[in-house]
């Protein structure tokens, strides 16, 4: 049920992000979602791409440190309160959202959010039980 995300360590330097997008463009990798977390010294770029293998290799070949993490792609109703309803479900559990970001494409009338939970298995269980649909890797790439 989980989706693989690629993360890259970047120092806070101007032009660094465009170098990464350049490497991926050169490798013919399509970026489907992206989020950047940063501190004053460094940042972590998280990516959902169409070809993890190709992307990770291209980045490593260019001397970058690459991590791979399982994250959860969740369908969120694309209307006011959509995300709120979802987070309400998790509020009373001991599941924490480490971070989240939006997916570029829609599934009809739903938006897709990428979630990094501290306990993905538990989160998937709770959300599914509450009628939220989790998007599989196959379906995500087909959107």
């Amino acid at each position: 049920m989980q989706v693989e995300q690629i993360s890259v360590f970047l120092e806070n330097k101007s032009g660094r992000l465009s170098e990464v997008t350049g490497i991926l463009a050169e490798a013919g990798v399509n970026i489907q979602a992206l989020a950047l977390a940063d501190t004053s010294d460094f940042g972590v770029l998280r990516l959902i791409v169409d070809d993890n293998e190709k992307a990770a290799n291209a980045l490593k070949d260019n001397g970058l440190t690459v991590g791979r993490t399982e994250v959860v792609a969740v369908e969120v109703e694309d209307r006011p309160g959509g995300l709120h309803r979802l987070l309400e479900i998790l509020k009373d559990t001991d599941i924490n959202v480490e971070y989240m970001y939006a997916y570029v494409h829609h599934t009809g009338k739903h938006a897709v959010m990428i979630f990094r939970f501290d306990n993905s298995e538990a989160a998937i269980k709770v959300l599914t039980a509450n009628g939220v649909s989790i998007i599989t890797r196959e379906r995500l790439y087909a959107i």
């Binding site: 360590f9 460094f42 998280r46 990094r116």
Partner: protein
């Protein structure tokens, strides 16, 4: 097995009596025969008769590598050239070479000490030594060679290089002991593997490795790959060559310094104050039997500590720890001495990896600020910023606890630290003092 039971296991009191007698003779000799020492002693207001106890050694001035260079080539020799039977020289990679000389008796002493060292490392009659230290101006090859012959073991003077032929010799001649630099031994292991030769099928029992700093991790790797017991040997041409100190195969925990020939001291590299046993500092040697090239309080620049604890092997001579760095690399941060090697061991202890790192020192106002840059590898990396920040904090906390110095730790991208010839530049000091 102990080669010279009488001297190597001598009670400390008797050993110190011999040291004092030999020290007094050495000081008299250099004062009479070497202008450099005579002038230095006079400047310090010391004459040879002032040396009445071993503690008086501390009143004598230090000798540095630069002093040896200033007296290039023969200015430090204490005998006329017609008494010198051998000349060696350091490679001079860090400046002008240093030339050292030996009388016939010096060569005998050296052979005797190398025989002791080889036996401490496991060699005995009937063994065959594959001596892969370079023969030539470098003291390694010939030092081992003479010791081996004196001990009565067979020696194959294979020297360095032509590794494939070395593998053939190891296979066909059946050597049981290898003497080499640690890095070359690992190279040998690689070439063996390429050639389809397994160390398991060779006859090696022991290896005696030195002439460059190495770590316990490397010992494990060498013992595994070469299928033998590895011990550490220490020496430098300015003091004699290999065989100044040797690890015994029984304890494999520190190198016995042959104290009936050399007096070691550990000093603070910044203040030059002598430090007590157990403290980490710069190793200083005074030779007390050398004829052609005696040195008085020679600063080796090697960083280690001295251990006076009795050893299970029965030797009474002090043990020096592995050399962990060079005093040239030492930084003084707000009055605290910091060696890059200490930061490195904190990194290994904290994260279990040896990342590339760099120490950057700046002066902000009147304060020194130390930043430790650590290249991030896959082991340290996380997709969560807070975990990365926790890593930085954890390293910083351990540096503070273990070294007593405040450091800001910054994770940087791989290859962010400049390298010259594959070696990372460990220290950048931006202070303008």
């Amino acid at each position: 097995m102990i080669y010279n039971m009488e001297y190597e296991t001598m009670p400390r009191e008797a050993l110190e009596a011999i040291q004092l007698r030999r020290l007094q003779a050495t000081v008299e000799r250099v004062y009479a025969n070497v202008a450099f020492y005579r002038e230095k002693f006079k400047e310090a207001g010391i004459s040879p008769t002032d040396i009445r106890t071993l503690d008086d050694l501390r009143r004598l001035p230090y000798t540095t590598k630069q002093d040896l260079r200033d007296n290039y080539p023969y200015g430090m020799f204490a005998v006329p050239m017609d008494h010198v039977v051998r000349i060696h020289a350091s490679s001079g990679t860090t400046g002008q070479p240093t030339v050292v000389g030996y009388t016939a008796r010096d060569i005998q002493t050296w052979a005797q000490l190398m025989a002791r060292a080889l036996m401490a490392g496991g060699a005995n009659r009937g063994d065959i030594i594959h001596n892969a230290y370079g023969y030539g101006l470098f003291t390694g090859g010939l030092g081992v060679h003479y010791g081996a012959e004196l001990l009565g073991v067979s020696v194959i003077p294979v020297s360095g290089g032509n590794t494939r032929r070395q593998v053939m010799i190891m296979k066909d001649f059946g050597p049981t002991i290898i003497t080499a630099t640690p890095s070359y031994s690992l190279h040998l292991a690689e070439v063996c593997e390429e050639m389809g030769v397994s160390f398991k099928d060779l006859k090696f029992k022991f290896g005696i490795f030195g002439a460059e700093p190495w770590s316990e991790t490397m010992r494990g790797e060498i013992e595994r790959k070469l299928n033998l017991t590895a011990v550490d040997i220490y020496g430098l041409s300015e003091v004699m060559g290999p065989g100044v100190a040797i690890e015994c195969k029984e304890a494999k925990n520190g190198l016995h310094i042959f104290e009936d020939h050399f007096i070691p001291e550990i000093v603070d590299p910044a203040t030059l104050e002598p430090l007590p046993y157990g403290s980490v500092g710069e190793l200083v040697f005074t030779t007390i039997t050398k004829e052609a090239f005696p040195v008085v309080r020679y600063r080796t620049r090697d960083i280690c500590s001295l251990n006076p604890e009795p050893c299970i092997c029965g030797r009474t001579h002090l043990r020096m720890s592995r050399v962990t760095g060079r005093s040239d690399d030492m930084l003084i941060i707000r009055g605290v001495n910091v060696f890059p090697s200490q930061i490195e061991s904190v990194l290994i202890d904290t994260e279990g990896v040896t990342p590339h790192y760099q120490l950057v020192v700046d002066r902000e106002g009147a304060l020194d600020v130390l930043t430790v840059k650590v290249e991030i590898g896959e082991q340290l990396f996380s997709d969560e910023v807070k975990k990365l920040q926790a890593t930085e904090k954890r390293i910083s906390k351990n540096i503070k606890e273990l070294l007593g110095v405040t450091a800001k730790v910054r994770l940087v991208e791989p290859k962010a630290i400049a390298r010259s010839e594959g070696k990372a530049q460990r220290v950048v000091d931006n202070r303008k003092l």
